[in-house]
């Protein structure tokens, strides 16, 4: 036990504090149905230059096969997930699809320089702020959604929540958090030069959300 710790705690305990309770949470409850949630999420995300595509549940592979070559996003990185596997199995031959399956230490150069697009799943979306919930794990590493210049995220329409508060409650986040949980609400941006908005500073320059209905 360090003495700094004891000294700090002792000083903090030198005066008893009343322990008034916090009022009930103002959890917003809009009563939105799925369509409304999709519309709110899309609206918010498009406002910060996110591309939103609404697709049928099984259309996304076809969409990727037709769009990625067109956009010259040929070097594709995915997680070793069911979705990643499904896409790798059915990807156009012109696309070079690989899994992010090795440790970053041996993959840094490739990840930073030789990937055009990273594709991830999501653990849901948040309608009122237009955010994606990312829950990286051993099959879908953290940098997959961050380092490639384009990030494509798959979002199931029935997993969109009204608010973050609702998502935390329904998904019971307090039961266990992953090493790194993320909310992503657009492509990387900054306004640090003259308060002028510019996209693509350090994270992905483009974010594409495929909503699967």
């Amino acid at each position: 036990m360090s003495s700094a710790r004891d000294n700090i705690l002792k000083r903090l305990r030198s005066k008893p504090r009343d322990t008034g309770e916090v009022q009930d949470r103002l959890v917003p409850d809009h009563g939105w149905n799925q369509q409304e949630k999709i519309e709110h999420l899309s609206h918010q995300m498009q406002a910060v230059r996110t591309e939103v595509q609404r697709l049928g549940e099984s259309q996304w592979i076809d969409w990727l096969n037709s769009e990625l070559p067109k956009r010259k996003l040929n070097r594709v990185l995915t997680g070793h997930t069911n979705e990643g596997q499904a896409f790798k199995d059915r990807a156009e031959t012109s696309l070079d699809v690989q899994y992010y399956a090795q440790n970053i230490e041996s993959f840094k150069t490739g990840l930073f320089n030789k990937i055009d697009v990273g594709i991830t799943t999501t653990r849901g979306g948040i309608a009122d702020t237009g955010s994606l919930i990312l829950w990286p794990d051993e099959h879908e590493p953290r940098l997959l959604s961050l380092v490639p210049p384009v990030h494509i995220a798959l979002l199931k329409a029935n997993e969109i929540y009204e608010s973050l508060a609702q998502a935390i409650e329904i998904q019971e986040w307090e039961q266990g958090m992953p090493s790194n949980a993320l909310l992503v609400s657009g492509p990387s941006k900054t306004a640090d030069i003259q308060q002028t908005l510019a996209y693509g500073i350090h994270g992905p320059k483009e974010l594409i959300v495929l909503i699967l209905e």
């Binding site: 000083r11 005066k15 935390i168 941006k189 640090d192 308060q195 350090h202």
Partner: protein, 473 residues
Amino acid sequence: MQQTEVFSQRINKALANHQARLSLRDTMDRLKLKRLQQFPDKQHLDELRHQAKSIRQKALNHLPDLLEQLEKKLTENGIKVHWAEAPEQANSIIHEILNKAGAKSVVKGKSMVSEEIDMNAYLEQRGIEVIESDLGEFIIQLAHEPPSHIIMPAIHKNARDVAKLFHQHFPELAYTEDVNELTLSARKILRDRFANADAGISGVNFAVAETGTLCLVENEGNGRLSTTTPDIHIAITGIEKVIEKLEDLPPLLNILPKTATGQPVTTYVNMISSPRKAHEKDGPRQVHLVLLDNTRSDIHSSEDFIDTLRCIRCGSCINHCPVYVQVGGHAYGSTYPGPIGTVLEPQRIGLQQMGNLTSACTLCGACAEVCPVQIPLPSLINQLRAESISTQFSDSRISGKGSLRKRSEALAWKLWSVTYAQPWLYGIFRWTATRLRFLAPSRLGGWTKYRTSPKPAAKTLHELARQQGFDNE
């Protein structure tokens, strides 16, 4: 009062820079407008502020317990917790972690606490290269300047300033004043740094005790890169940043970006709960949290000043301050400028050195009106003024109480209160003041530098009233 002189010199210098003042005014007006657009309903805004305040207040009331809980959860999760009472201690803890791992290069996310302890200089003196990766921080690091705003550190620089800086430091890049191109240049320059840094250092916006989660908000992705790519992540934060539960996060995450920059949400909310686990492919293998006290526990002990610690560092008080908008952040000469700096710095560093910041305030109340956690900033500033000159002190442990007391000033007010309490004395005073008004000095130091000298009227108010037919009532 040497401190006061230095302070006035900085203010005069800032006031003389008309271009900077105009552009700061413009920026602040836009920020104020953008904030208002996020809160169309005043009553709802007040409910949100009250909620945010009560969450922070409750956390402060339970602070020692929550810190212990946080430490326990983080330790269970594999994050090492360090405690530091003072800047020197925090710096040496960080240096030791880096040294032990043989780390020579650090990439850094934005952290005001690291500015508070002057960490970059400490590490650089010991041969460790520190690169600021937030674009604003990167710019001012190139310029060797401190931040002039807590969330927009390079707000005092325009695109041309940045273009010149980039050209000077990276002559291989084509000169441009285009903000988009400058931004892409910064991306290019910093990309390798992220990939090759030995360690990442960041601040923390909220530390959740319940789950042992460090929550960081940002727009650029530099925070995520700094906390994910290198093998070591060191987070540093003040002990007051802890909140009890995950469910406390949404109200704070809701109000913070809206009130700070008028955006509904930041691009990234980064919630870190453990180092890289077995089989995970990336993320740091070591994560450390340094909890810094640096007088916060003293502030915590005061019944009134504890409110200072509710602050969530949004910067709205700064954006709305009529003094800050005229002089900018550097004039304050402190780590934290504006109203929150005026309250925090004298408590952190002492009234003797920083007490004069409280004179750069008109007590207009704008800061308290916008504060998302309802800190009564003007009344705290007023109390600090009193502490700095009074001989009767409150319960606070602030240092330098009474240190700005001037005998001449104290004597003048004493004479005033005696005179105004004795009708006969007051009578003599007003007769003398009106009849001998030709003796009133035409120069009154700083006062008459920009104003004419006040001259007493020829007759007292009482005499004039009597002439008008009012009786002695």
